[in-house]
Amino acid sequence: MSELESVISLCRMVQSGKIEPFDIDFEYVMGVIRKHYPGIKDVKDFCLDAEALKELSSVLDRQNKWIEHKSSTLYKDPFMLSQSLMRMDIGAVADAFLKSWHPIVEMEQISARTLAESLSYWGGLIPLDERWQTEEVAERETGTATLQQARERGLVLTEGFAELLEGFWRELGERAGVGGAVEYWDWIGAETYSDTVYRAYITVFMVSHGYANVTRDRITEETVIIHNPEPSRDPERPKVSLPLMVDYEEWKLWRRG
């Protein structure tokens, strides 16, 4: 282990509480970092140097917190505290704890309303044998189709995927305005549920390819799709993976307006 790696590990011992923050001699660690800085040859050395600085700054942060803690009313000398604990018998320790303990009150109960709602849900639930009906499979003769026929049946895209995304991006720009936002369901919602799923599917790619952004307000739970005025099509850029919900019931509600 190099000298720099040793000081990094020393600093990490403070983070894990194995040693006290002021057990670290700041000047010494800084001296080690300074000594090695002129000898940096490659990225690996540079990263090690940066890591040592980062760990040392964390030690300074812990030293600061330690002073704050020491000046707070909560601070009691750890030695005194542990001596007191050792002096006390188990009953006395338990008593001290119970005098400062305010347990949480919580209830687990089914209300009449929940029962009524559950019964109504049960009533509306389609039996499993209906829900899980197996598809009727029929044997067909194999045949051939032209590219045009395959396009007409929707098996092959009529344009490239990038063009498709660009088309949706332009539509978003028109509906939301350049750099503007449109409400999630107003954007993906379509006349049929399958078209809605398709729009949501394309939207996922729009976001992951940098044509649009999605934000969700945690308080109002409102999701909006934001038009990106300058799509970043950099293939080196890390892709964003985005799960989107297309709930059938929600779609029905949206359709009803």
Binding site: M88, P103, E106
Partner: protein, 194 residues
């Protein structure tokens, strides 16, 4: 005017009832409700609704308590208040007899007290081995490991991947740490002074 006041009172009473349902019943894996959830359900005056509920719970020896994710917050911002978790806790305390009826052995309580006090003295963090060593002074080794696991499972203590222990959400919500430390340090002082 009187009718308008009654209307406002009725609206408040309804909100207080909603707050009771949110705070008392278990909605998530962990008890308690986040501030932003309360705001969403109760409206912008959610803090006032909690104050009213707190006053109404007082005769029942209960109170509305909040715990922040960051233990050092003294003057919370609006965002921190909305991120905090709110609970209903006992306003007073329980005695040993009552603690036994809710499933706590005296050894378990003392073990938790020692772990919490030790972690406070170590600024809230310490390797698990050190905590266990302190407990082993007065509890059998096999019991120590079981107890520490139980405290972790119940949310009083936490342990990270490096085996470093810290005070977890339930300690922040339920334990008056300052009082505990004062009681431990002050133990036997009166006798010694006398």
């Amino acid at each position: 005017m009187a009718a308008r006041l009654t209307k406002a009172e009725r609206a408040y009473a309804r909100k207080v009832k909603d707050a009771v349902q949110l705070l008392f019943f278990t909605h998530h894996r962990l008890p308690g409700v986040r501030g932003w959830e309360l705001r969403k359900e109760l409206g912008s005056d959610w803090m006032n609704v909690l104050d009213v509920l707190d006053k109404q719970l007082k005769p029942l020896d209960l109170q509305v308590t909040r715990a922040f994710d960051e233990p050092d917050i003294v003057e919370p911002t609006g965002a921190q208040l909305q991120d905090a978790r709110y609970y209903v806790t006992l306003r007073g305390t329980v005695d040993q007899k009552a603690a036994k009826t809710i499933g706590w052995r005296i050894d378990d309580i003392a073990g938790l007290a020692v772990s919490v006090a030790y972690l406070i003295s170590k600024q809230g963090k310490s390797p698990r081995a050190d905590v266990e060593r302190v407990l082993e002074e007065k509890l059998p080794g096999w019991r120590v490991k079981l107890n520490v696991d139980r405290y972790i499972q119940q949310g009083y203590l936490g342990e990270d991947e490096q085996g470093v222990m810290y005070l977890d959400w339930r300690s922040r919500a339920e334990i008056d740490t300052k009082k505990l430390v004062d009681l431990v340090v002050g133990f036997g002082k009166k006798d010694r002074e006398a």
